[in-house]
């Protein structure tokens, strides 16, 4: 395959029976070629649950971001949201593949993404909320990426070298996602009367989920996120929303409790794979 054009090189018949039919297809395990042996003494169930939860967060958030394509306020923004979604989808593939290896029950990324029911998903509810206006997208991204960045930062020292490596790559990507959301928060908060009104309303909507994200978190992680958020809101001239009195009214996504919105999202995400479970792409 000496051709210098990727599409032409794809069209060449390969003696190895290349099954790729378009750029980016011919999917294989995203951890293919990585040393995936588990360190001795590592708790498999714990690692499975951790990778599954973080993988589900990324998969569901990526799907919501993809829904912005053709709906974003400007072309550059559409490209940005799609790129952020693509990063998260990449993280989801790596994490679900790792979850499958840790589980050791023969399930790969596809089985985990396409053939689980909503109650088997462990994503935080913040990720599955339906899209609202653009301010809502920015507010959700601000909370989600600030939290995820802080979580992944700590996982770079995890005993599982594969999870640690996935986290280290993710941190670099999340730094861009968080900056993106933070800069838009400032722009909208410090913009027109209308943009400010919408940004405040959006933050009020997503803020109760902060307690859910930080549920059981170590104090240092909690402080990190609160410092970041305060810094952004100060720069935007926005008030800090009131903390939620309790998270009792929210479904606990980490325990498999979800809003009906997740079933709807998964219905769309899983429809093609479920229509023809034997298909390859």
């Amino acid at each position: 395959m000496t051709d210098d054009h990727v599409y032409l090189s794809l069209a060449e018949a390969s003696p190895e029976g290349d099954t790729r039919w378009a750029f980016g297809t011919g999917f294989e395990d995203p951890l293919y070629g990585v040393d995936t042996e588990l360190p001795p003494g590592l708790d498999r169930d714990e690692l499975t649950a951790l990778c599954l939860a973080l993988g589900d967060d990324a998969l569901v958030a990526a799907q919501r971001l993809a829904e912005w394509v053709t709906r974003a306020p400007e072309l550059e923004e559409e490209v940005a949201l799609a790129n952020i979604g693509l990063d998260l989808l990449g993280q989801a593939r790596l994490l679900l593949a790792r979850a499958g290896q840790a589980e050791d029950a023969g399930r790969g990324e596809d089985e985990l993404a396409y053939f689980r029911s909503p109650q088997e998903f462990r994503n935080v509810v913040l990720a599955e909320l339906p899209n609202g206006d653009f301010a809502h997208c920015v507010a959700r991204q601000l909370l989600f990426s600030s939290w995820r960045l802080a979580v992944l930062q700590r996982l770079t020292a995890h005993r599982d070298p594969v999870l640690a490596a996935i986290a280290a790559k993710g941190v670099n990507e999340l730094a861009y996602h968080r900056d993106h959301a933070a800069q838009w928060t400032v722009r909208l908060g410090d913009g027109t009367e209308e943009s400010r009104r919408r940004m405040i309303a959006a933050l009020d909507q997503v803020w109760p989920h902060l307690a859910d994200l930080l549920d059981g978190a170590e104090p240092e992680l909690r402080a990190d996120i609160e410092v970041t958020l305060r810094q952004v809101l100060d720069a935007a001239g926005l008030p800090l929303p009131e903390p939620a009195a309790s998270t009792e009214q929210l479904p606990r996504g980490r325990a498999g409790e979800h809003t009906p919105h997740l079933a709807e999202l998964l219905g769309e995400l899983q429809s093609v794979a479920r229509a023809d479970p034997e298909a390859t792409w």
Binding site: G24, G33, K169, R178, D179, Q183
Partner: protein, 169 residues
């Protein structure tokens, strides 16, 4: 005389990046290592750029095919995630090729200790990036995200042309 190892290295190093075809995988810093075992097995190691980069499968297939075409039969293409790929790994030659191809090369990647704090950037970055078309330093960032995960979008205020820049990562 070219040794087999050299042949394997040169062959893998010449494979072009699917999304930045002016660069080889070696220029991009994606090709980390090529080894040859006494039994003739070639092992090429790639470091993916972004987690979601759809080009990784292409890169792997292209390296495999190039080595096969060069006469190697036992080939393994491995992926290494640690340390994560950095735009600092793009070679000086790669940077020159990017600029010649109309894409501004990245500045130095942010230096962060593993697991260390990641500072927040609240205003568009103000680094000086030269326009790859006219050379002017009077350029501005229009979006940190562009047609591929690895590039940002900029605009030159002198010649008014938009252009892409490989992001610092």
């Amino acid at each position: 005389m070219v040794t087999l190892l050299q042949l394997a290295r040169d062959t893998a190093a010449r494979v072009l990046d699917p999304e930045l075809p002016m660069l080889t995988l070696a220029d991009l810093g994606v090709l980390r290592e090529v080894t040859l075992a006494p039994d003739g097995q070639v092992v090429a190691t790639l470091a993916p750029t972004y987690s979601g980069c759809p080009a990784l499968a292409e890169m792997r297939a292209d390296v495999d095919a190039a080595l096969r075409a060069a006469g190697f039969t036992r080939i393994e293409v491995r992926t290494v995630l640690d340390p994560p790929w950095s735009s600092d790994w793009i070679t000086p030659e790669g940077r020159a090729k990017l600029a010649a191809g109309g894409i501004a090369p990245p500045g130095p990647a942010p230096r962060r200790a593993p697991g260390g704090p990641v500072p927040l950037t609240l205003t568009p970055t103000r680094t000086v990036v030269h326009c790859p078309h006219c050379g002017s330093a009077d350029t501005e960032e229009t979006s940190r995200f562009s047609a591929t995960a690895c590039k940002a979008l900029r605009r030159c205020r002198a010649c008014r042309e938009p252009f892409e820049q490989v992001k610092e990562l």
